[in-house]
Amino acid sequence: MQLCENLFFQKGFNFLLFTDTGQENRGGAFMAIEKTYEEINARIKKGEAVVVTAEEIIGIVAEKGVEQAAREVDVVTTGTFGTMCSSGVFLNFGHTKPRIKMNRVYLNGVPAYGGIAAVDAYLGATALPESDPENRVYPGRFLYGGGHVIEDLVAGKPVKLEATGYGTDCYPRRRIETWITLADINDAILFNPRNAYQNYSVAVNLSNRTIYTYMGVLKPNLGNASFSTSGQLSPLLNDPYYKTIGVGTRIFLGGGIGYVAWHGTQHNPCVPRGENGVPLTGAGTLALIGDLKQMKPEWLRGTSFIGYGASLAVGVGIPIPILNEEILLYTAVKDEDLYAPIQDYSSDYPNREASNLGRVSYAELRSGKITVMGREVPTTPLSSYQKAREIAEILKGWIKSGSFLLTEPVQPLPSVDSGIVLKGLEEKKNNG
């Protein structure tokens, strides 16, 4: 950690900042501001905490400077609302009479994984009914999948449960067909193994036909460039080294309260970073958990990507405690200073080939046009900036009202000193 940090400070903000050891650097103009989680929570409980969004903090820092802003602001709230495929829900339906050990489980025709205990199942966001034509009629529509079942459950709609078992002495029943609602069943625990990607590629299509991807419809010959992020509002872009977001962080998840359960799958912190510490490609990810019963359908929405599949749009908001000036400065990052790599999704991405058609800033992406290979290309946003802003505002409201306290992580996420290297999957002829 120290090695990377020192590099970062030498290149970047060493005139503005203190290192994380608390030593004043050569700028020396500021007093060290240090706040603890306990102090911030005490202010939240008294209704005195100063809470602003990751968008608002930009102007505050520009106006008041880092030191005063860090002194005054206690919490910066972030938000993101976009499709996150690695999402799903653990369900416990309650026991039938006589009992069944559910082997195959369907919810509104969408298969859930039943390979756990008798009446437990996991419904994944991208699961499709077996009757779905998929891409046999290309491009498929994918109008209803696991994400839509989750939305229906959260909306309180009755969902048809069909399950079969093979029958055992303790679980003799072989079949059940019934209707459930979220309120009826014992447990529904949203557990998303990978959400809130820290930065992501911009997708373009260099081929001469329209392609249908998880990055949306990509028109031929650089017809558009799609991107999915809330940029300056996005959680992990505001805490690039995971100094406050860790295991156990309490968050806004799907309109309710959730927690960071672990680092997400494919968490990859050791990628190249800019002078501001922010990764220049996809990097960190979060595994998130929360009780589905207190979430809202507005913030968990089934999505259909033509030619690709069904999924779930998830609303995530994470508070960042302003423990010191360094953390404040990270939260003041602007779209102009956040860069994403451009990748070709017609050939390079599907073939796992390196693809870098340059980088663009999120300010350019959000303006509606970018330049790729010398050509002006319209941008297609896939994640809602407006809804991200709304999430950051809702979370701000919860904290200001004293109803949402911050948690100190029980364990940090692996960071730049972790040595993590993201692996591919190689084909092997034998197990030697």
Partner: protein
């Protein structure tokens, strides 16, 4: 002078013919193609704005009917369901006329029905299925 938005539907046997060329060359019609596609069965359709003096316009339409092109006035409207809309804005980069627009700096999706030409480009690109055709 007549100007109309029409949908032309072609059987697969007609897809190879230069029909638009004839409309321009022989009937002196002004054509603005709003949308066109050919499906896997080689049937095609074109949505176009067709204008010209009334005699040429009617002769042009007769020519189309005679060779077996189905002609329908552009009907139906696009309904945008604000509650279903995720506000991502993906549709706005596919809308050819700016009827669906991302207002900046609010970053809010807005739909101006008066600009909509019902080309349906927005339907499939909406992950939330928040736009639909109503007849």
């Amino acid at each position: 002078m007549i100007a109309n938005k029409v949908v032309l539907r072609f059987a697969s046997s007609l897809v190879g013919q230069p029909i638009i060329y004839h409309l321009v060359k022989e009937y002196d019609l002004v054509i603005n193609i709003l949308k066109a596609d050919i499906n896997p069965h080689q049937e095609g359709y074109v949505v176009l704005e067709l204008s010209g003096d009334s005699e040429n316009y009617n002769r042009g339409l007769k020519y189309l009917r005679d060779i077996g092109v189905e002609i329908e006035p552009l009907s139906g409207t696009i309904a945008w369901n604000r509650d279903r809309c995720l506000q991502c804005g993906a549709c706005t980069s596919f809308c050819p006329v700016g009827a669906l627009q991302l207002a900046r700096p609010e970053m809010e999706v807005r739909f101006d029905e008066s600009k909509c030409i019902v080309c349906k480009s927005c339907l499939d690109v909406c992950m939330a299925r928040a736009v639909e055709v109503r007849f």
